[in-house]
Amino acid sequence: MDDQLNPEMPIVETYRGVGIHAFQSQERIDSVVKPEIDQVFTIDEPENLWQYVLSAMNAPEARIWAGAKLTAMIEQRAHKRLPLLSFTVAHVRAAIAGLSSHWADPSAYCSLFDRFAHREAAPRPAEYGRALEEYFRKIERDRLMVCGWRSDGNGKLRAPGDTATAVSAG
């Protein structure tokens, strides 16, 4: 779902129904991301899926898919009046928050929220990190321009009627 306030990561291809993010090499997609998505398809135990979702070592696309699958399992268990698990839908959403949005980490394949708990995420090459930052900065700039912000000619954006406040135009 596209959202101006929370822009999504662009999808370069869809593998088994799961969107694969841009800003990574085709080699990584083929050798890491797709096998991990395949792995999630084989996991049926909620506890194992939960551990998978938590680990920043796993690819963001596979974690998002695992989170969606886990959420569906939790919903089904609630509907069937089965015993509650040790985690809820809110926990799952928190664990994968930001992975597919502008909160994605430019320096690693995880979200910025993962960085303090997990430092084991695979590093993102600098050129892809710069491209990611540029992509979301452009979206933010376009959004501000629509809201009436204008460039002052020095690479800065100024709010409507505001001559003092300026932000970098990127």
Partner: protein, 107 residues
């Protein structure tokens, strides 16, 4: 030669068949989805019954009459249309997980 009629009370199946014949209902023409939909929108029915009807409709979306087609007719079709040859399991969990991903609640 006519079949000899069994003595005693008619079985439950015979009673049901007789009742259906008297009502003039062709069971092949009964559409469970229409019945569920009628329950779901009937304001005179108990709220929990209506909710259960909605849940049943969501869990069992109408499929095409042609068995060769796997396309779901109702609006609740899988959010991500993926080719069948990609080995995607066709179960409730997987379908619901794709809907969740599509609605963006996993972001």
């Amino acid at each position: 030669m006519s079949e000899r009629k069994k003595a005693g009370r008619p079985s439950r199946r015979d009673e049901l068949r007789k009742a259906i014949e008297e009502a003039g209902v062709d069971v092949d023409m009964v559409d469970p989805h229409r019945l569920l939909a009628a329950i779901a929108i009937d304001s005179k029915v108990a709220p929990m019954t209506r909710i259960q009807a909605c849940v049943a409709l969501i869990e069992h979306p109408r499929r095409a009459a042609d068995p060769g087609k796997s396309e779901i007719i109702s609006d609740s079709k899988p959010a991500t249309a993926a080719p069948a040859d990609q080995g995607i399991p066709d179960d409730d969990i997987t379908r619901r997980a794709f809907q969740i991903m599509k609605t963006g609640t996993s972001r």
